[in-house]
Structure formats: structure tokens, C-alpha cells
């Protein structure tokens, strides 16, 4: 008898909740195929898993785009690719702007500030801007933890970021390996994996996730969750497609709320221990009610405030929600 011959939630309760062992790809597919009549039960289990293996704290993060637009890559979901007729124009954030953004983030009570650039990989100018920015943030008396997302890296660049004090690096695999060539053609899934491997080996925390709703099948969602679990990130970031004007995915439908919630829960059952972060697109996909359900369905980290090119909810609204849910915001001195 295989695991999926018995009730998948009963299996998950024993395997994930009791033993802390994530579900495999075939099991995840069974979860994703559960009917709406099992959704509440699934979310409850994912929440129990999160509470058991992560605790009640929620990690709050703010992000900012240091270099916007003009990216040479062709990620079909992205309004910042220079290859599509998107209304997003190139912009550079100067160091004082970066310091203000870090301060705005710290003022929300967030413990994590992620500096992001729309590039294939950083050049010397960008790394210099990051270095100056981090120095200026520290000189401003801001002790927030700093993460970066600057595309694909060389080993030398990884070492440089470590020396700058960057404690976590975000590099999303974006989607299942089998679907990636439909989403990006200018680089490969394997190139992204290689950057992630170097980050891990250098001792930085690994943040890796992707975007749900880019035309992937339910089987590919299961495949993606299993591949992420194999990577074993410290944080998995879950975005939901915002169909951006001018991109090839402009006409794609927003992921249906119940499917999105099932996916959140499935990702938690694939990865019981990492931070699972609500990221871009949650406002459109989930709304207020769905966001709360997600927080009670496996999520234990959020991005507050605005995103890179889109706006989010005011940070105070999310913090009030966490207060209502009696989920304490993780303090700066707490480690993973």
C-alpha cells in the first residue's frame, strides 16, 4: 500500500505533524487535489504543523527596489524586464533613499529589510551601491537584519555579500523545474540552483520560493513544493501572480482563493520548519479574509508595506491583524 492509498491528511498528521518529515511529491499532489470540503481541515493541519515546528512568532519584513526596470532577462511575469512593453521605467534608489526605506521598515517593527535589484546578476556599480547603502543604514543607527536579492552570483560576489554582513539572500526558483523554460528563456533553473548552492555553502541563510499562477499544472505545483523541500531553504517566499501590464502574462487569471490556500497549506506540509512568507499578490488573491486564513493555514512570515513595483496594504493593517490573531512579531534578537 502506498501512502496515498490512505487518507492523505491522516498520513500528513502522523508524518509531518508528529515526525516533522515533509510530504513527498506524490503526497503533495494528493493534498492539492483535495476537495473544497476538506480545505478547512487541511488549513487547520498546516497551522498545527507551523505551530508545532516553528512556533507562534511571525517574521515581518520590508523590501525595496534598489534598481528598478531595464532587466535584460525575460521572466514572463515581471514588469521590470526590458524586453516587454511594460509601463515600468528604470529607476535607481540613491543611498539616502535606501536609508529612509530601511528606517520606514524598522519603524513598523520589522526585523528584516531586503534590498532587491532587477538584474541578471550584480555588477561592480550595484555591489558598491549595496555596500554604501548597508554602511549608511548602520550609521543611521538601524540594526535591522539585511537581506539581498540581486540575481545570480559568482562565488566572489557571494563572499563579498557575506563580508558586508548580508545575512540572508533571496533567489527564487520561481516555479517547478519542468515549467521553468515556459517562464524564463534567458537563463536556466539550474543556474539559479547553483547560486543557491553557493549561498548555502557560504553560510548565508537561503530564501527561495516562487510565484503561483503562472500556468503551471497542479502536478507542477506539487513538483515545485517538493523541489523547494529538497533545497531546504531557511525561508520560502510565496508570491501569487499579479498579471502585469505589458508582460506575456498580462491576461492570466488571478489564482482562485481556495486554490491559493490549498497551495499555501501544501507548501507547509512539504516544509514543516522554514519561514513560509506571504509575499507579492496576496492582496489580490486573498483579500483580507483570505490573508487571515493563510496566516491560520501555515504562513508564519509576511512582507509588510509596499513591494517592488506594486503597493501593499499599510503595515499597520497587517500588524493589527497579527495582534488580532495573537501572533507575536518576531523580535530582532530571536534567531530562526
Amino acid at each position: 500500500m502506498t501512502a496515498v492509498d490512505t487518507d492523505i491528511l491522516a498520513v500528513a498528521r502522523e508524518q509531518v505533524l508528529e515526525r516533522g518529515e515533509g510530504l513527498g511529491q506524490e503526497q503533495l499532489l494528493a493534498v492539492l487535489l483535495l476537495g473544497d470540503d476538506r480545505l478547512e481541515e487541511l488549513l487547520q493541519l498546516a497551522h498545527e504543523v507551523r505551530m508545532r515546528w516553528c512556533g507562534p512568532e511571525v517574521e515581518v519584513e520590508g523590501i525595496v527596489s534598489l534598481k528598478t526596470g531595464g532587466c535584460p532577462e525575460d521572466c514572463h511575469f515581471c514588469s521590470q524586464s526590458g524586453r516587454f512593453p511594460s509601463p515600468v521605467r528604470s529607476a535607481w534608489l540613491d543611498v539616502p533613499g535606501l536609508v529612509r526605506s530601511a528606517r520606514e521598515t524598522r519603524d513598523t517593527g520589522a526585523t528584516e529589510f531586503c534590498i532587491v535589484a532587477a538584474v541578471r546578476g550584480p555588477d561592480a556599480r550595484l555591489l558598491s551601491q549595496v555596500r554604501e547603502g548597508i554602511k549608511a543604514i548602520r550609521e543611521d543607527g538601524n540594526d535591522i537584519q539585511i537581506a539581498c536579492s540581486l540575481g545570480m552570483l559568482t562565488q566572489e560576489q557571494v563572499d563579498e555579500l557575506v563580508a558586508m554582513g548580508v545575512h540572508r539572500y533571496n533567489h527564487n526558483l520561481e516555479t517547478a523545474r519542468s515549467h521553468f523554460p515556459n517562464v524564463v528563456t534567458t537563463h536556466t533553473w539550474e543556474e539559479r540552483w547553483e547560486t543557491l548552492r553557493m549561498i548555502r555553502a557560504a553560510g548565508m541563510e537561503v530564501c527561495c520560493g516562487g510565484i503561483i499562477g503562472m500556468g503551471e499544472s497542479v502536478e507542477q505545483r506539487a513538483e515545485f513544493a517538493a523541489q523547494l523541500a529538497e533545497l531546504g531553504p531557511d525561508e520560502c517566499t510565496m508570491n501569487f501572480l499579479i498579471p502585469q501590464p505589458g508582460t506575456p502574462y498580462e491576461q492570466y487569471e488571478i489564482v482562485e482563493g481556495r486554490d491559493a490556500l490549498r497551495t499555501v497549506a501544501a507548501f507547509r506540509l512539504a516544509m514543516p520548519r522554514p519561514l513560509l512568507r506571504f509575499s507579492g499578490g496576496r492582496e489580490l488573491t486573498f483579500g483580507d479574509l483570505g490573508t487571515k486564513q493563510g496566516m491560520l493555514g501555515g504562513i508564519n512570515a509576511i512582507i509588510v508595506g509596499n513591494y517592488l513595483t506594486n503597493l501593499g496594504r499599510p503595515a499597520a493593517q497587517d500588524l493589527e491583524m497579527l495582534d488580532d490573531l495573537k501572533m507575536p512579531v518576531k523580535a530582532l534578537n530571536q534567531s530562526l
Binding site: T68, V88, R89, R100, T105, G305, N306, T309, L311, A315
Partner: protein, 68 residues
Amino acid sequence: MSTEFCARCGRVEADGDHTRCAVLLASIDPPRFCADCGRRMVVQVTPAGWVANCSRHGERTSTSPSVD
């Protein structure tokens, strides 16, 4: 400030239905086009706001009295 162009799609406000644009501008999208001349603006989104620059009409911010 007069609103002649849709700040989201850049088309003339009087042409077509911009209801969806208005909804998205009120929720997830910063303005991308100058409402006065329809030029594409340089927009910087920050954690708590945004700044948009039109080469002809200057800077607007999320705290400006009227942004669209």
C-alpha cells in the same frame, strides 16, 4: 490638478472605461503615467510610499494631495 490621462494605463480618461484602472490605483498600483500629459513617469516605490517623476510636470508622491 486636472486629470486628462489615466495614471495607470496612460490613455485619455475620456476614452474607454477606466473603472478597473481606478480600482487598481486605489489598491496595488502606483501611478505610472502623468495625469496631465500622459508621459510615462519614473516611479520609485518605497516600503511606505512612492515617488513619481514626470519629465514635464515634476514630482508627485503618495502624500501629494491629488495623485491621479
